[in-house]
């Protein structure tokens, strides 16, 4: 196991400086009784939930053109200029490393896997531990209709960066229409009286309960490895049962919850205008799904790990440009690759913006969300996996201070993931393996 889950550390223990005087920072478990009385509540009176999501991009940043090197303040440079209006909502993490412990750097793979699992993969395609979003959704995703909503803007459901293991990757939704149908189509209005009274939900639950009852009979025929694999399937069945139960009892929606208009069918793919349009449409559906409490966990991938984004009519993709385009000596960077990086950061800015437009209590949806955004490399030209850019965006229900530029000084990148999970209330004391194993929370950003 790359992480240890122990008995939750109590608020009292933390406040008294327990744990042997170490600098362990432990986020407070997300229990309703710990929420402030500042009036943040759903329409039903229930406290506003805190959501967690990831936003993936590939090809990293153009060195010296993305983030101001002076870490005393957070300031974005040309490539990330689109993020400037949201600076006060962002924590930027730089100079955290991904030690490989002698394992090869599987290009465009090792970086994101390290960042999300705290472990360097052994082989190409290897995902040695559950990604952190899966751990978070295991902890907080059970009370909503969907444990997690996963999206990718590439047109390929395989371009997903969320997985329980190598052979159990969560496929991304690629089409806004399909996403809309899933979220808001038949059965999507979980709070309507009609939905609650529909006997179909109860019957479907019976169907799934029947499958659950087969478990013992089925797994006793299996070897140990297959048993573990099928356990995942039965867990998925239970999750679907839970979804139906949530639909039956209804979930309290936020005041901003409005059933959105259905998107129009459009192309999917990696031409940059197409990816941008699908990202925009799916982001809009996502924020409403969050406001309507359909899910509390999400994953958005803007491009694939070997970014195949391209401009219509041009022969080179984003990825090939990062390797094959010459550095402009005057500018000091690869201008075409830089152009793509700018568009990616604009997409992230657009994503953030949608969260700020949904009002929740005295603030916005973004205040009650933690978006864990990161790349798979720092400088794509060299496939570098040290100093991979990571951002935490949003205040996670008031648990995070934002607007900081945190410098890791070569510490393992797993510190960021550990901190994110603790902020989300997971009782994780230690995370990662080998040189990435860490118990050091980034306390500077904790409230």
């Amino acid at each position: 196991m790359s992480f240890l889950i122990k008995k939750p550390v109590t608020r009292r223990a933390v406040l008294r400086g327990a744990m042997g005087g170490t600098t362990l920072g432990v986020a407070l478990p997300f229990l309703d009784c710990f929420l402030s009385d500042s009036g943040q509540a759903l329409a039903s009176g229930a406290p506003l939930p805190v959501r967690f999501g990831t936003w993936f991009w590939s090809m990293g940043h153009t060195p010296n053109h993305a983030i101001h090197p002076d870490a005393s303040k957070l300031a974005f440079l040309e490539e990330c200029m689109a993020l400037t209006p949201y600076t006060q909502h962002i924590n930027y993490f730089g100079q955290f490393n991904s030690p490989l412990d002698g394992r090869p750097n599987h290009v465009h793979h090792t970086g994101w896997v390290s960042c999300r699992t705290g472990t360097a993969p052994i082989a190409p395609g290897d995902i040695p531990a559950p990604t952190l979003d899966v751990l978070v959704s295991d902890a907080i995703g059970g009370s909503t209709r969907f444990k997690s909503i996963d999206m990718t803007c590439t047109g390929n459901p395989r371009d997903s960066f969320t997985a329980r293991n190598t052979n159990s990757r969560n496929a991304g939704e690629v089409s806004p229409v399909a996403l809309y149908t899933r979220l808001f189509g038949a059965g999507g209005d979980a709070n309507s009286a009609a939905a609650k009274a529909d006997p179909d939900l109860m019957l479907q639950q019976s169907v799934l309960s029947g499958i659950g009852a087969e478990r013992q009979r089925f797994v006793r025929r299996l070897g140990e490895a297959d048993r573990a694999r099928l356990d995942e399937y039965f867990t998925s069945i239970r999750q679907l049962e839970n979804q139906l139960a949530v639909q039956q009892r209804g979930t309290p929606a936020g005041a901003a919850c409005v059933r959105p208009a259905a998107p129009k069918e459009g192309p999917v793919g990696l031409e940059i205008p197409v990816a941008q349009a699908n990202h925009d449409a799916m982001s809009q559906l996502l924020v409403m799904a969050l406001a309507c409490n359909q899910t509390r966990v999400f994953n958005m991938a803007f491009n694939n790990a070997l970014s195949s984004l391209r401009r219509p009519g041009t022969a080179y993709t984003h990825h090939t440009l990062t390797h094959e385009e010459a550095v402009d000596q005057k500018l000091g960077y690869q201008p075409e690759a830089f152009w793509f990086n700018c568009r990616v950061m604009e997409a992230l800015a657009g994503f953030i913006d949608k969260f700020t437009k949904v009002k929740e209590g005295p603030g916005t949806l973004l205040d009650n969300t933690l978006i864990f955004a990161h790349a798979e490399t720092s400088y794509a030209k060299l496939h570098a996996v040290d100093n991979i850019p990571v951002m935490m965006i949003g205040r996670a229900g008031g648990r995070l201070k934002t607007g900081h530029h945190i410098v890791g000084h070569g510490d393992p990148i797993s510190r960021i993931g550990l901190t994110a999970m603790q902020v989300m209330g997971l009782p994780v004391e230690k995370w990662g393996t080998g040189s990435q194993q860490t118990s050091k929370t980034i306390t500077e950003i904790l409230v």
Binding site: P104, V107, P124, G125, S148, D150, G155, N156, P157, R158, R164, T166, N167, S168, R169, N170, A171, A178, P199, L203, Q204, S206, V207, L208, G210, I211, A213, E214, F218, R221, L222, G223, E224, R229, L230, E232, Y233, F234, S236, Q239, L240, Q243, G269, E271, S308, R310, P312, G313, T314, A315, Y316, T317, T320, H323, E324, A326, K381, L382, H383, A384
Partner: protein, 547 residues
């Protein structure tokens, strides 16, 4: 390197002469068996099963979770795949949709073998009869009372709630279609009476292996009957069934599925070409190019019973209007497929020059000798190309001020970096032979005004162009060894075991002895003891006890 003869084969050759070699080589070397597998149904298998059990009129509308390609095949990945929460959600939605279609008026009369006593009430007897019939095909074995109890109970409850027998039946069927018994092909083993050190697949598991290998679908009633009667424990009984399966038109479906997996044709689902750079290569051309290679393979290997090696040199294929626009040849049959043969001397010869290969293994807006070379090595020769190192320096590759106008010159400059040279030596000399085909697979003679040099070398076989590459591949024993290994791995749904080396060598030799014809190869695999042998699990008998 020629295929390795077995020691037994060599002994026979020495002692009895060449005339008896074939007969001797047919005695199968012993193996130590492999594990039982638990395979998740692939999308194609799921669709085939639904069509075969309930009819092609049942629409399977939905997306499936991808399976991770493992050891070169999705068939192996399926043995390691689970189902994620969103995947279960999709399977449940599919099951619901299919079940509702099956019980809908128009279908129910054909598919449900009885009428309920009262259409507005439950009828356990009729429901049981239906689930028994459908369940046997869906679960690929005789259904037990335990299997039936759940669906019948759900059908009863739902019929009462809905006051509709058929609506109730749909819920019960939905459960069967979401059950692990349906979604996973879980094999079971039993003691092998011929070898106390081994297990063997039980009869129903063997029926499934044969059916999915040769038809890519569930065993039909005759195969299940043969399993129930114990005929699959007997060599003659197995041979009768294998010959029946291979004589069926569905055999073509099975062979297509094998090559779809081997050639990674599922990648077509996400293939993109820049419409401004390649206006002729639209969606229709992409879909047709996938179909074209499958038609070519079936024609050469099954209809003509040809030599497998000829797939690298054949000029025969099939053409549609959209393909004709990309190939720039006249297509004579609007709206359909027509046989087509490229002229002698045309650069198009062999499947590696068809769009399904040269367009699939390219970038959206340009060709890629490296991707093509890698695909030939990995897909057609089963040779693993190492991953690129992390510290690649591409500066020399695409310096716009460089005088290197062609990919060959640029790659030559790039490969002067020692970190890159090793792998590029494996890929480039092959991939560059296909540089007369642009990123969409259209013929070109120049790049940036410079004449393209498509010469190269494969394992010492020098060639001048793509046709020569095809000849080199035809003569390369790795190509025939590759298809043998892939075919067996595909059938078994697992990687080749260490204890199967002699068997592989023997299989390769038999393939050669049979003139490299695919049908005898597949038959031999299907009939083999190796395919049904299961290693005893250690330390406990956890891999499926006697059933």
């Amino acid at each position: 390197m020629m295929p390795v003869r077995t020691r037994l084969g060599l002994a026979c050759a020495l002692l009895l002469g060449a005339a008896l070699l074939t007969a001797c080589s047919r005695s199968e070397p012993p193996t130590k068996g492999g594990p039982v597998t638990v395979r998740r149904l692939t999308e194609a298998q799921y669709r085939n099963v639904i069509a075969d059990v309930f009819g092609p009129q049942i629409v399977v509308a939905g997306r499936f979770d991808p399976i991770v390609r493992t050891e070169g095949l999705l068939a192996v990945g399926a043995s390691r795949a689970s189902i994620t929460p969103s995947g279960v959600e999709r399977f449940a939605a599919l099951a619901r949709s299919i079940a509702q279609q099956v019980v809908a008026p128009g279908n129910r009369e054909l598919l449900i073998p009885c009428r309920p006593a009262a259409p507005g009430a439950a009828d356990d007897a009729c429901a049981t009869k239906f689930f028994q019939q459908a369940g046997r095909l869906l679960y690929r074995r005789a259904v037990t009372a335990d299997d039936l109890a759940g669906p019948v109970r759900i059908a009863r409850t739902a019929a009462l709630a809905r006051q509709d027998f058929h609506a109730g039946l749909a819920y019960g069927l939905q459960g069967m279609l979401t059950s692990p018994e349906f979604l996973f092909i879980a094999e079971s083993a039993e003691p092998d009476p011929a070898d106390k050190n081994l297990l063997r697949l039980d009869a129903y598991s063997r029926a499934s292996r044969l059916s999915f290998m040769l038809w890519n679908t569930t065993p039909d009633a005759m195969l299940l009957d043969a399993a129930a009667r114990g005929e699959l424990a007997d060599a003659d009984g197995v041979a009768a069934q294998v010959d029946r399966l291979m004589a069926s038109p569905r055999f073509t479906q099975g062979v297509r599925a094998f090559f779809t997996d081997m050639l990674s044709l599922d990648d077509f689902s996400t293939l993109e070409k820049d419409s401004l750079i390649y206006p002729a290569f639209g969606l229709a051309a992409a879909e047709d190019s996938r179909e074209q290679v499958l038609r070519t393979l079936i024609d050469e290997l099954i209809a003509r019973e040809g030599d497998y090696r000829d797939i690298f040199t054949t000029r025969r294929t099939f053409m549609t209007v959209p393909l004709g626009m990309v190939y720039r040849v006249p297509a004579t049959r609007p709206g359909g497929w027509a046989p087509f043969e490229f002229e002698e001397g045309d650069p198009r010869a062999g499947i590696q020059t068809q769009l399904s290969f040269v367009a699939l293994h390219s970038h959206p807006g340009k060709s890629s000798p490296t991707l093509r070379g890698k695909a030939i090595r990995e897909l057609l020769l089963c040779q693993k190309v190492p991953d690129p190192p992390g510290n690649v320096n591409f500066d020399r590759f695409n310096d716009p001020k460089s005088p290197n106008k062609t990919a060959r010159l640029r790659l030559a400059a790039h490969a002067t970096d020692p970190a890159c040279a090793g792998c590029h030596k494996l890929m480039d000399p092959i991939g560059l032979a296909l540089e007369n085909f642009d990123g969409a697979g259209q013929i070109r003679l120049t790049e940036n005004g410079e004449r393209i040099d498509a010469s190269g070398e494969l394992n010492g076989f020098k060639f001048a162009d793509a046709r020569g590459l095809g000849q080199a591949m035809r003569e390369d024993p790795a190509a025939t060894s590759c298809v043998v290994r892939r075919a067996y791995t595909y059938a078994a749904g697992r990687p080749i075991e260490k204890g199967e080396r002699d068997w592989m060598a023997d299989l390769e030799q038999s393939f050669a002895d049979d003139g490299y014809r695919l049908r005898p190869l597949l038959r031999r695999i299907a009939l083999s003891k190796a395919l049904q042998s299961i290693a005893k699990p250690k330390p406990e008998l956890s891999a499926g006890g006697p059933t």
